[in-house]
Amino acid sequence: MAVPFYGRASAAVFSPLETMSRSELVVRRLTDAIALGLLPDAEQLPGEVDLAGIFGVSTVTVREALSVLRSEGLIETRRGRGGGSFVRTPEDGIGHLARRRLDRFSLGELRDLGDVYAAICGASAALAARRSSTDDVDRLQRVADALEHAATPDARRRADAQFHIEVAASAQSPRLYHEEVSLQAEFGTLLWLAFGDDDSHAQMVRSCRAVVAAIADHDPRAAREAAEQRVADSTARLIDYQLSEAR
């Protein structure tokens, strides 16, 4: 089909809907869920027909995706009674999955992802500073406390995720909230490769307190700046990590 030229703006309209095939998208979604720990080891996946219904794709597409996941050792399929596809977390843990994903990004792409995440977090924090009521601020303080007291990398990761979700919810914007959640799945998993130790944790707690303080002061500009800085620092740390790990 010939695409008529309508000028520059139409480029966005007539570009491919997604650059990945549908089965690649299913693979990525399930791999992210395993990497995030949302699908724990030994969890049984829904059947092929159900998965096709959930993702809105054909069963052929689901079968393709499952066979990729099987070849990567992320699921195991058993036949017969009580059979089905079961999650197999890699032996070296879910960090390994995130590492593999990280290796596919160039440093420039990581910076770009960080820029988008900073924009979303900054906008959420600025709106939260305008729209938070006293009980929203109380909740944010409590999540900040939980982050400070979290002792294991896993608990720290969950508390940090919860903090981001609370800020986005305090912005009173369902769309920002959804962007936050999907970026957390895409980028949050990567960021946590470089976080979780005591030094980075202390930094995360400090920056989290700065965001909460600005929201409590109803200072949108300071809240935006603190949230953007928080993501920029995290992104820089991830890029440093990638540089130090690169062979």
Binding site: L38, R131, S133, T134, A168, A169, Q172, P174, Y177
Partner: protein, 235 residues
């Protein structure tokens, strides 16, 4: 905020808010009554004892002509023998069909959220009164912009949880807009924090906070019964 309110306008908006709230609390109250009855003679209640909730809720959710999109019972932590935390909750799926809500009831699981600090649970527990929470982004359940109407379940004076119903802010707006549009001045419906639920002004939109609104001390003509909602004038 010194513009005056026309009594007739205010009364019409209040009536629309009250009708919406009565509809949601009608279902919430039926859930509260059935759960209270089910728990009354139970020393060690289990999830199965909450079975009467589903047949109350499902027909309502199935009727897409009415605005409630989710409803059920949320147990006080430790109430049930077989689940420390539990939501006996039903909501419409993307196709509009009623489905049981599946959440992580295990505090260690990713995706578990502590409802013991959320206002739709806390306020009825601490005050013994019904409450309207929102507008808020409901990240626990529907991930939508929501109003939640909850009432406490008390058995022999002991708090056991809340019965409740959700209405999407979008549906509430549809229900309130005709009366708001008919007003001769700019008015807003606000909650106890001064947060706007709906208004007839593009400068004061849903989710924004109005400074200096103290719902508790507004005259009865502006308040919606004993609910944390009121009609106020805006510039």
């Amino acid at each position: 905020m010194t513009t005056t309110l026309s009594p007739a306008d205010t009364a019409a908006v209040r009536a629309a808010v009250a009708e919406l709230a009565d509809h949601a609390f009608g279902l919430a109250d039926r859930i509260v009554a059935s759960v209270a009855a089910a728990l009354a003679d139970r020393r060690a209640p289990r999830r199965a004892d909450l079975a009467p909730v589903e047949p109350l809720v499902v027909p309502v959710l199935g009727d897409t002509g009415q605005p409630v999109q989710g409803a059920g019972f949320v147990a006080a932590p430790g109430l049930l023998q077989d689940a420390e935390w539990w939501l006996e909750w039903f909501a419409r799926d993307t196709d509009g069909r009623p489905q049981r809500l599946v959440t992580h009831s295990e505090p260690q699981a990713i995706g578990f959220y502590d409802y013991e600090h959320l206002p739709w649970f806390v306020v009825p527990r601490d005050t013994g009164r019904r409450h309207v929470t929102g507008p808020y982004v409901d990240y626990l359940c529907t991930e939508e912009y929501t109003l939640t109407f909850t009432a406490p379940v008390l058995v022999d004076g002991v708090f056991c949880g809340v019965g409740g119903a959700d209405i999407a802010v979008k549906s509430a707006e549809q229900a309130l807009l005709p009366s708001l549009r008919a007003c001769s001045t700019r008015v807003a419906v606000v909650n106890n924090f001064g947060r706007i639920l709906s208004s007839n002004s593009g400068r004061h939109l849903c989710g924004d906070l109005l400074d200096g609104v103290d719902v508790e001390h507004l005259p009865a003509e502006q308040r919606v019964g004993d609910l944390p909602l009121a009609v106020v004038a805006i510039e």
